[in-house]
Symmetry: C2
Subunit: 426 residues, 2 copies
């Protein structure tokens, strides 16, 4: 069957999955965790084959590292599945209950989105995490993993899918696609797929966003800023900028651009430079910065670049408004922080910066679903609709309105025979 | 300045509007209400000119009716603005407040979406309603009204915009576009516009959805169903189907397709037919229906058609599952109802039908923001992301995460020096 037809059938079957109870979905997840452990030998052997093929193909070391799926990683993802079971069911949550008139009750209740397409990177962990997140939230999933992980993903998917079906989930609850050319077909399934979540490189996510009518959740860029206000505590600011830059550079919530108030730059920059030199971080500065510390000249392009590396570009600003305007213009609306001891200044910054996360005196690296206490994370959204910032299970649900009447008709309200008498019941 | 550049500037200025307090926005709305009344003579004269031009151009009577903007209509929209002021501020609502660790506080707070583009029909009332809804929710608006209402819309926009600016709103809080070719330019402003709301014909909304990268909120089709279960109360069902079909035919929440359980069809259909005959409603039926009552044969195409007219197509089904499958396949996921006295059957239907509204024993015509008690309505969304069903002010907001720290860095949590200690503060 063609992918498009399979996706359409999945859309129809998605309501069957949506109707499964919390107990049924959690029971399937528990059996999946056990089945993954039971399939350990096969999974590790499949990963050995993928690793061997990747090494022979001369794949880069960082990709090889992400591709490796050993016993520790298996145990980690299985623990993840067991934690997921404990998370509160995101479905069936009553968000509104209102009597519109005598005997006419309106209820707004959360339900799954339907069919979600996820395209992810070469980490086999992602296959387990994403398929189980979708199952927990009652969504059907079409999964496309990185081609380097073909063998590992295949056995992981088979184990998860077979177990889910044995546990009573519909056969069409999840579908794996493997061929790269199927991505193009997937992007055309706007009648059947409700949401696409692409994970991977900036260019890849951008490509997906530009080539489908399906709503896309995710982020392409992650150009995060820290603004060091004139009322900053210099020690705190040095510590935080260093953490945001160096704690893990290859991630979207690492800081890329630094804006420093001109009145504090002469004190702050040398302190930061000293810390950066210890850690081999390259500082790129505008002329005003280079008048204070010795560093590489920063070009305009630097301020539009997501380095994902031990590089930080810095410029001075005359006041907080210049900082805010710069962030709103050059940033990616992901996460931006102000370093200041002045609460009013912080409030002003947080109000006017147009980003999913606006922080005072803490590292941009906190922008993450686990650190926000969401348990599982789907990804980070820099879009403003549906879900913004780190997205947990709540981002995988929508709602429907249920209305219970007893013969109620609109004509009676139009004619004035009856009147609405709104009364919230919760 | 080109529309694209103006939209980009509006995006930057949108944060200034977002920072206005509830009092400031409501004050602007109060002044706008007064200014509209004060500009009465000019507004009515402009509408006279539009009406005259439309009549000369031979515009159809229903369009002329919608185009007319007399003193009564002006008073109605001004009352609407005054009601809007009383509605609770959708901004600054704290949705989550959590201590992640000592001194590290995460707050999730509602805020405006940013820049919203609205393309609407020839009713001049829409200009007032939409511009004030956007202002109330702190969003900048780019407004394109129907070309027939050019003069009326121009004076309405000028009055509203000038008053808003005098009341302290940024000059770029709203922008009117008039030329039809500007719609094409608008659709290309995906860097600046966060959301598009097209209102109008099915074909027009579909065109917008297919020709922009900007997220679109709205509905193209409105193919609503009523399923008459074998456990239906026939009197109630006749009354409700009649209301849903005839109370106002030219709307998206009118019923278009009727599904009748085979066991009740012989009793139900004649009763419905008698009522329809009184009201000159054309019934189109499948063979099984025509074996019971005399009516026009229904084709497959009928079940995919939004009539917006005094026509209803009907078919029998063998059981509730056939009804559900039909609705999920042919419906537009708008609003679908079951007529049944059996609560379990109703629950099953409501669970499995994939629509924004699922009703028991009441008319589909209730699917409307005012009737849901939302006060103002932006429109009805058949999309599943962000907002679904009738959309009130809440559909015009998003949220941001604010985090307050005191030097907190991620390295301390990664190394285990500190541990997260999630505690909800609300």
């Amino acid at each position: 069957m063609e992918l498009r037809d399979r996706a359409k059938q999945m859309k129809l079957d998605s309501m069957e999955l949506a109707a499964k109870t919390s107990e049924e979905r959690n029971n399937a997840l528990a059996l999946i965790a056990d089945a993954l452990i039971a399939a350990k030998e096969e999974i590790l052997a499949a990963n050995e084959a993928d690793m061997k093929a990747a090494e022979e193909a001369g794949i880069a070391a960082p990709v090889l590292k992400r591709l490796r799926f050993d016993e520790n990683k298996l145990n980690d993802v299985v623990s993840g599945v067991r934690e997921l079971i404990k998370l509160k069911d995101p479905l069936g949550k009553v968000e509104l209950k209102r009597e519109l008139d005598e005997g006419l009750i309106l209820v707004r209740e959360t339900c799954p989105i339907g069919v979600i397409g996820v395209i992810f990177e070469s980490r086999p962990d992602a296959m387990v995490q994403i398929s189980t997140l979708c199952l927990k939230s009652g969504n059907c999933a079409i999964l496309k993993g990185g081609s380097e992980a073909l063998n590992t993903n295949r056995i992981l998917f088979e184990t998860i899918h077979n177990t889910a079906v044995k546990a009573g989930m519909p056969d069409n609850c999840m579908l794996q696609i493997e061929a790269r050319e199927d991505i193009g077909k997937l992007l055309e399934c706007h009648e059947a797929i409700d949401l696409l979540i692409p994970r991977g490189s900036n260019a890849f996510v951008q490509y997906i966003m530009n080539n489908t009518k399906i709503p896309v959740m995710g982020h392409a860029d992650g150009i995060c800023h820290i603004y060091v206000d004139k009322a900053a505590d210099i020690n705190k600011a040095v510590k935080i900028v260093t953490d945001a830059k160096t704690q893990y550079v290859a991630v979207c919530n690492a800081v890329e651009n630094l804006l420093v108030h001109k009145d504090i730059a002469a004190d702050f920059m040398p302190a930061l430079k000293a810390e950066f030199d210890k850690r081999n971080v390259e500082l790129r500065g505008t002329e005003a910065i280079r008048n204070i510390v010795d560093c590489v000249p920063a070009t305009d392009e630097d301020f539009e670049t997501e380095y994902l590396d031990y590089i930080l570009s810095a410029k001075t600003v005359n006041d907080i408004n210049e900082a805010i305007t710069h962030i709103n213009k050059y940033g990616s609306h992901h996460t931006d922080a102000i370093m200041t001891e002045d609460a009013e200044t912080a409030a002003y910054f947080m109000q006017l910066v147009d980003s999913a996360g606006v922080y005072q005196n803490c590292s941009t690296r906190f922008a993450d679903g686990f650190r926000y206490g969401f348990g599982a994370e789907v990804g980070v959204s820099t879009g403003k609709l549906h879900a913004r910032g780190p997205v947990g299970l709540d981002g995988l649900v929508t709602y429907k309105y249920k209305m219970f009447g007893n013969g109620h008709i609109v004509a009676d309200y139009a004619s004035g025979v009856r009147k609405f008498n709104f009364k919230d019941l919760m």
